[in-house]
Symmetry: C2
Subunit: 347 residues, 2 copies
DNA sequence: CTGAAAGCGCTAACAA
DNA sequence: TTGTTAGCGCTTTCAG
């Protein structure tokens, strides 16, 4: 598309005829320093001058040039969010909650969020942000390394990576999977199937491992045909349940690694007239609000994505301010949310 | 949260010890101008010097300071995306496709996307972007006015506003609603119900109006109880269909103003064992890929959200470059996509 | 409490 | 083909 990175357009370039701090100073009849002071809420400005400046700002509709501020200040109060760009990611509760959480935190901290959708190959320019948040690290470790090498603080969400030297905020996915298994086992189930998340993601793999471990602890075997390797999509969930339903020995409970998949399974079961939880119990993962509004309220494992995202921003804010230099490693516990979709096994 | 806008942190501030263009120049033993030239792909640099500079850049892991570039260039090659922040918006196909489209275009044009989630009240600083895209304008006309007043080009998606003086790229929602009505009528339906989108959005209102008009043209009456005022959410759709199902005179077809709502209706009908399209026909709006993977492939009205978003970015790119000063007004036609969920009415 | 002046890192005349 | 130099708009010493 783009032949070259060069900007040729000089001649007819549109310089926004922005009013500058100088215009404000002129109108208020003070120095630009004073204007700068009121912009930045420095207390040592006389009431009178402050009023004059404020009038001028309002009159001229002056807005400070952010690039100039960043250059002069020597730091950049914006955070980058990099999201893997594979199909479907944005239709996941995961991605959305992270976007929302970051957006919310940025708004309250007056930071900007610059949003990168990445295929993992193109290097991203981290020199226009004060820090970057990786929604997940899949095929893009190099991007993290590059950012870190450039001195840009990074936080990884839901990826406890000890090698990169980046901060992370994760949920204990392993424990979540284990909890699901133990809950189902505690209800009396012996025949428990699972549709996993994308096992290429750390979260997906850990949920599955925790689940296996939970079953093992209860001496429950997990036959191969009870495992469907999914990718968090509704489509996979449909294929999975269709496969399970063809088995001679039907599972009595299913653990889906995301609520969206669980919801799709519920839908298929509804279509077939199979009763939940009387005939089959379902447990999901995420605590997607959608769980509450379907034909049955879904039992699930709650993970505080929104808060994780917010916390990432706050951490970066502190680092950018120099309030901390620590690398943050935080692992939150997921919680079992019991609703209506699980019960004792039939008979 | 934040007591003041002032940055106090000077003492312990973290200046990224970024290597600058000067360091590169020193190592390559050329002037900073030459370095700037290779950064910007200016052809007039000798092979030899170019190589030296490239080596230095690689060695020092130099990345240009974007704020400095923007300040010096006098323009800012980034676009703002402002999204209404009401609950649920991000779980809509609409929002997601727009985000994806803008992200995609930004990547190929090497622009940044700065993402604003807005409640409509806080003014947004448009002085750190070259242009801004409003995903929709609901309660935030003032933000558009402010941006425009500051000389920032704006494009509104799916909101044909002639007063603001902003550019827009919209789909002809009216015609989409009309098409749905005519298609259903053409199939022989006389009892057609609808669950509308949020009528506070222009798109929602226009779809509904077009739908009414389409019915009227076919001399079909639309009784009040056949209209459920929704908001694009699955939840509303469920309430709507439950209400319709209680009517003594059941509709034989339903137009849902979004596929997500249509899909939820399908789910409820499945739960109740009602056959689609034999007993009830359903048509949606959006052409959400999810339409293809449910229990039945959904007939729908396709709107090219992704392309609209991309085109918005390209337009802004041209404006920022000074290639155009025109205000762009583009209205695209939606398309009927016939799949399996509509048929002739029973009997 | 105020202002003059020195940059921040880069681009782009203009000269050479 | 190259380098010198003057800004871009703002923040922040440092003197008053």
């Amino acid at each position: 598309m783009l032949k070259s990175n060069r900007f040729f357009w000089k001649e007819n370039m549109v310089h926004k005829k922005n009013v500058s701090i100088e215009d404000v100073a002129a109108r208020a009849d003070v120095s630009i320093t004073t204007v700068s002071r009121v912009i930045n809420n420095v207390p040592t400005v006389s009431k009178k001058n402050r009023a004059k400046v404020e009038e001028a700002i309002a009159f001229l509709k002056f807005k400070p040039n952010v690039s100039a501020q960043r250059l002069a200040r020597g730091f950049n109060n914006s955070v980058g969010l990099v999201m893997p760009g594979y199909p479907g990611i944005f239709h996941s509760f995961y991605a959305i909650e992270i976007i929302r959480g970051i957006g919310h935190a940025c708004e309250s901290l007056r930071m900007d969020m610059v949003f990168h959708i990445t295929n993992g190959f193109n290097p991203i320019n981290t020199n226009n942000v004060g820090g970057v948040i990786f929604a997940d690290v899949i095929e893009n470790r190099r991007q993290v390394e590059a950012a870190l090498a450039g001195g840009t603080p990074c936080v990884l969400i839901n990826n406890q990576d000890e090698d990169l030297g980046a901060s992370y905020i994760a949920v204990d996915n392993w424990s979540g999977g284990q909890t699901a298994a133990e809950y189902l086992a505690g209800l009396g189930h012996k025949k428990i199937a699972t549709v996993t998340g994308n096992l290429g993601t750390q979260a997906g793999a850990q949920r599955f491992e925790g689940f296996q471990s939970g079953l093992a602890a209860k001496k429950i075997v997990l036959p191969k045909e009870y495992v469907y390797q999914g990718d968090y999509s509704r489509r996979c969930a449909r294929l999975a349940i269709e496969k399970f339903l063809k088995l001679k020995d039907l599972p009595t409970a299913i653990f889906a690694a995301s609520d969206e998949m669980a919801l799709e399974i519920v839908a298929v079961l509804n279509e077939r007239g199979i009763k939940i939880p009387e005939q089959i119990s379902i447990i999901g993962f995420d605590d997607n609000p959608q769980c509450l509004f379907g034909s049955i309220a879904l039992t699930t494992i709650s993970q505080p994505l929104f808060q994780m995202a917010e916390e990432s921003v706050r951490y970066l804010y502190d680092v950018i301010q120099g309030k901390t230099k620590n690398i943050k490693k935080r692992v939150l516990k997921p919680e079992l949310v019991i609703r209506e979709s699980c019960g004792a096994p039939p008979r």
